[in-house]
């Protein structure tokens, strides 16, 4: 016997089709607007679907029936628009009798998990970092057979809406630990993590005037951590809060900034571009790393 790799086309199952057949999925994959429309994050959505297909979880997506959770509206103060979106989504979800939702977006995760119940929407909501951790722990994903990350330097950037907002710090780190990579922590991590700058609807507006963009401050920290550039880190923390112009040295091979949020992805990727470090540092979502390590890309 030998192994041969074949590629299979995926027909992503729509909830409407399952319902028409009288079937229920184990989980509903909530794709989110970034996952559906943002070119970079669509690759994360596709990677996560490959994992779902690979392990044979019975899943479905809402497709065109999905609508914004209302998170950016709520954080920007538009409570009316938020509740309109929430009610509409709750009607859709309850119409299909959805019980369990998995999503790759911490903002969707937080909103559906914490803010929908008061409006009548009660679901078990799982962030994909927790979901992936469970698949790895259960041995359903072996994180081998594909690209090897052994010894690669990876630093995980905590998303505010996963970390401080919902106290999920270990799941993404356990997923990364399974890659057998060289995991390095930024000084500002976990509960003390620094925001990428996109939360609270900042994603859709220009920042207020200041000395520096937040994603640059955070990217400099990530790069200096990956480089092991103590001087640059010192520069970054030289004073008790913030500083200017820490420029990490180049080199030290290909590092990875791992994220678990579409907005962090945009902000950190922009930061790496701004620092002209795309050739040596890449930004990946957890699902992409797992799908690559498992050899699921086709």
């Amino acid at each position: 016997m030998a192994e041969q790799v074949a590629k299979r086309q995926v027909n992503v199952p729509l909830m409407a089709d399952l319902a028409a057949r009288g079937e229920q999925p184990e989980v509903l994959f909530w794709v989110g607007c970034a996952g559906a429309f943002d070119d970079r994050y669509k690759r994360v959505t596709r990677a996560f679907v490959r994992i779902l297909e690979h392990v044979g979880v019975k899943y479905a997506v809402l497709g065109m029936e999905e609508s914004c959770t209302g998170d950016p509206a709520k954080r920007a103060g538009n409570e009316f628009l938020f509740q309109m979106q929430a009610m509409q989504n709750i009607t859709t979800l309850d119409g299909y009798g959805i019980k369990t939702i998995v999503t790759a977006c911490p903002h969707c995760f937080n909103t559906i998990k914490n803010e929908y119940p008061a409006l009548g929407g009660n679901y078990e909501v799982i962030h994909h970092s927790t979901f992936l951790q469970q698949l790895i722990n259960d041995g359903r994903v072996k994180v081998q057979g594909g690209e090897s990350f052994k010894g690669r330097r990876i630093t995980f950037h905590d998303s505010c809406y996963l970390g401080r907002a919902n106290d999920i710090y270990e799941a993404p780190r356990e997923v990364l630990a399974a890659l057998d990579a060289d995991l390095v922590e930024m000084k500002r991590s976990k509960a003390n993590g620094l925001c990428c700058g996109a939360g609270g609807a900042q994603m859709w507006k220009e920042p207020e005037p200041g000395k520096k963009d937040i994603n640059i401050e955070r990217t400099e920290e990530a790069l200096a951590t990956l480089d092991g550039n103590a001087a640059a880190l010192e520069n970054l923390y030289g004073v008790e809060s913030g500083n200017e112009g820490a420029t990490p040295s180049k080199g030290n091979g290909n590092g990875i900034i791992a994220v678990g949020c579409p907005f962090c992805m945009t902000m950190m990727s922009d930061g790496v571009k701004n620092k002209e470090r795309e050739s040596s540092v890449q930004v990946f979502d957890l699902a992409e790393l797992v799908a690559s390590a498992e050899g699921l890309n086709a």
Binding site: M1, A2, E3, Q4, A6, K7, Q9, V10, V12, V31, C33, A36, H54, G63, E66, S67, C68, A73, R75, A76, G77, N78, E79, F80, L81, M84, Q85, M87, T91, N110, E115, L119, C160, R164, A165, N166, D167, A191, N192, L194, C195, G197, A198, G199, K205, P207, E208, G210, K211, D213, I214, E217, V239, E240, S241, G242, G295, L296, N297, A298
Partner: protein, 470 residues
């Protein structure tokens, strides 16, 4: 109570006793009056229903307020603060003795405890010396040419800076009074060849500095005693005007911490009713609040002024000790934006005291020329807090996480954003574009909803298949 009453030493005379009772009653009464007024100010805030188990609240209070759990994120200030905090708690046992002595005309009424009294007095003396040393370090952190960064910032104007130093000076004066009293008392007893109950490791080092004259020593002992108790009563009445009020407010403030995940923002109930009525015409909207005449009260969405915030936000404002941990971790502030969570909280307190009769003997605003001029009759939003500050927030919760007494500046910021958006339609243009995208396309970007499922096109997954080999 005590067995060794020094012959030279007359206990406080009846005049002193009466004087003491008057001063103590006045000091405590005035403090109670100030606290009542502050309570009334806090209750100007909107109602907020507090859920969650009481056991969890008590746990949090013990850990975060009493146990100072969150202070230990930064070890140096945590240890310095711990010394002053423990000093405050333990030395106040001696204040009980001072009160008893003052009322009953006794001298060192607790000395009957014997060895326990020795330990207590020795502990007090050592803590007192440590407090003085610590206060010097704290003063240096604030007043050196390049102070600790979080002690600077636009909101740290004349009054907050003075206030912080006044607290340190008062602490030194109180400790000095304690040592004056003990040293003079000790030396008096030494001159008489009588044992003073208690053990005084620091004062016994200082006796050489004091005069050999029994009369002068007696005066010094009285001066120390009166300065200590008058200082404490004066300080007590200074607290309501000061950031130092946190020594009391930290406890209720931590007790009333929101017990939900930090990412969970409050829902506006009146909007829920409206939205439900829109989606289901048969939905019965419950009657809203009415005024004294039975007319419905028109409630503002969000917060324009300090009293549009909830009582919890106002409780937060009175619990703030202006340490700046929130601002020092704020990503917007770090990168030079105007937003400072500490300023939001300080502005709220200033505004509620400006709007309602300030309950305080001192009117801190008077020391803040700039603030008073800027918001003579303005509201919290625009009068003190600018929209630019509010829009710079990333809602990252770093400030909430950082606060040692669980103040939530983010909650206030969102209430003020709600006012700007729902009452004034004053969101930045790009956010209005985002809102209309969500309304029209169901996504914050201008993509067609019909393209929402395009990501699934041409999607392949690699599969390993076992094949038979020859």
């Amino acid at each position: 109570m005590h067995t060794i009453l020094p012959t030279h030493h007359s206990p406080p005379t009846v005049v002193q006793q009466i004087l003491f009772l008057l001063v103590a009653a006045l000091g405590i009464g005035l403090f109670a009056w100030q606290v009542r007024k502050i309570r009334a100010n806090i209750l100007k805030g909107k109602d907020r229903v507090m859920g969650g188990p009481i056991s969890e609240r008590i746990n949090k209070t013990l850990l975060v307020a009493f146990g100072q759990q969150k202070m230990f994120k930064r070890i140096t200030p945590a240890l310095l603060h711990l010394v002053v905090y423990v000093g405050f708690l333990v030395i106040n046992i001696e204040v009980i003795e001072i009160m008893i002595d003052g009322i009953f005309g006794t001298h060192r009424a607790l000395s009957f405890m014997g060895p326990v009294y020795d330990v207590l007095m020795a502990t007090n003396e050592i803590l007192g010396a440590l407090v003085i040393a610590t206060v010097v370090a704290l003063w240096w952190r604030r007043n050196r040419s390049q102070p600790v960064r979080r002690f600077t910032g636009v909101e740290m104007r004349a009054w907050p800076r003075l206030d912080a130093n006044v607290i340190l000076y008062v602490e030194v004066i109180l400790m000095a009074a304690l040592f004056t009293m003990n040293t003079a008392d000790l030396k008096l007893h030494q001159l008489e060849g009588v044992d003073l109950p208690g053990s005084f490791p620091i004062s016994s080092l200082l006796v050489g500095l004091f005069p050999e004259n029994a009369g002068a020593l007696h005066v010094l002992e009285r001066v120390g005693w009166w300065l200590h108790i008058l200082g404490i009563l004066a300080f007590l009445n200074y607290l309501p005007s000061s950031k130092h009020f946190h020594i009391i407010m930290a406890f209720p403030n931590v007790y009333y911490t929101r017990l939900v995940p930090q990412g969970q923002f409050s829902n506006v109930d009146s909007i829920t009713h409206e939205v439900k009525a829109m989606m289901d015409p048969s939905y019965q909207v419950p009657a809203g609040p009415v005024d004294a005449d039975g007319n419905p009260v028109v409630q503002r969405f969000g917060a324009k002024d300090a009293d549009d915030l909830s009582w919890l936000n106002l409780l937060n404002a009175y619990s703030c000790t202006e340490c700046g941990r929130c601002t020092s971790v704020c990503p917007a502030n770090i990168t030079g934006k105007l937003l400072s969570p500490r300023k939001i909280i300080m502005d709220t307190r200033d505004r509620i005291e400006e709007k309602y009769e300030s309950p305080l003997i001192f009117k801190p605003n008077k020391y803040n020329g700039e603030i008073g001029a800027e918001s003579e009759d303005g509201s919290l939003v625009r009068g003190k807090v600018t929209p630019e500050e509010l829009w710079a927030c990333t809602t990252c919760n770093a400030c909430v996480e950082a606060c040692p007494v669980n103040i939530n500046p983010l909650d206030s910021i969102i209430e003020m954003r709600r006012y700007l958006v729902l009452e004034e339609s004053a969101a930045p243009h790009s956010l209005n574009v985002m809102f209309s995208n969500i309304e029209n396309n169901g996504a914050p970007w201008a993509f067609s909803p019909s393209d929402r499922f395009n990501w699934a096109d041409e999607l392949y997954v690699a599969e390993k298949q076992s094949v038979a080999t020859a």
